[in-house]
Symmetry: C2
Subunit: 158 residues, 2 copies
DNA sequence: TTCCTATTTGACAATCATTTACATATAGAT
DNA sequence: ATCTATATGTAAATGATTGTCAAATAGGAA
């Protein structure tokens, strides 16, 4: 299933669904490919302007929203001020959120019990079950948890 | 452990930690007691103004933040535009989020495996593991999922 | 290839949640 | 009752995200 698609595949999917593929969109697809840094819309925008000085943040938001609607990326709201985007749409894939530096890491975890089945259908129909692990990453533990970066600070994509 | 404290207990804890107990704070404690509606700061505020016409949203935010710092309530950011506050601080307590009406429900779940132990200490030190189940509640399923309420709409506390 | 039109874009303003600034009011210890 | 640190309210600032709309353009049709 739709895990990590190439820019070309995404362009095809966009056209197939009646959308147009513009240079800015293609570039966004490229910036997302294999990106495991969980960038914010602004992180993407800052990379984008390097090549396209006139792009607007709005275009980034719009393209990301469309990708999300198509199920090609997921939008994570982890309570850090701004949404993070993740091109990894794998199931059994959860997140480690460092409350010190704000970094978000993917974490593969296949539970013996299927989480969705834990909730009675008579009560609620589960579409998606996500686990958020909050704590401190090894780097911040070494730095005594004092690693400056506030939750609202920009995290440049590597 | 600190699960569901009475307004009086909270007043005591506030004084004990050098904070002052004002009428508006006491009222906020009352509004939170036994409240399982997962109100936003604004929901609380709207109830509060009924008794105290001059109270400000800022006071609500501040008091809620202090309660959170004291570990007496938890702040949930579920990606619905505004944070939800939950006086239930029970461990093994997760959330069902209806993507149709925006309602948030508590869900007790004791997994046979301890979630925290799933993450290697060498990688990340977990403080808290929370599961968010997204899907549709029974009510919205009956209404054909068309139950109007947008994610940013206000949800009055019952 | 050129044309045509629905879709995108970008500049800008608007909105929403949350925080800051600061002068005034007040809880609660003495 | 006094005094001072803390809390309050007004009003304005901030940051993320969305709406408006005229101008630009992708890409199918001719």
């Amino acid at each position: 299933m739709g895990v990590v698609r190439s820019p070309d595949e995404l362009c095809g999917l966009f056209r197939a669904s009646g959308r147009k593929v513009t240079p800015q969109r293609r570039r966004i697809f490229e910036l997302l490919e294999g990106n495991s840094s969980h960038p914010t819309a602004d992180n993407i925008y800052l990379e984008l302007v390097k090549d396209m000085p006139t792009v607007s943040l709005k275009t980034v938001y719009l393209t990301l929203k469309e990708l999300e609607e198509m199920g090609e990326i997921q939008c994570l709201d982890l309570g850090m001020g701004s949404a993070r985007f993740d091109p990894n749409v794998d199931l059994e894939h959860h997140h480690l959120v460092c409350v010190s530096c704000g970094q978000v890491r993917d974490f593969e975890l296949s539970l013996s019990q299927d989480l969705k089945c834990q909730v009675p259908e008579a009560i609620f129909s589960v579409t998606k079950a996500e686990i958020v692990f909050r704590g401190t990453c090894i780097v911040c533990q070494r730095n005594g948890g004092v690693s400056a970066v506030g939750s609202r600070d920009k995290v440049r994509i590597s």
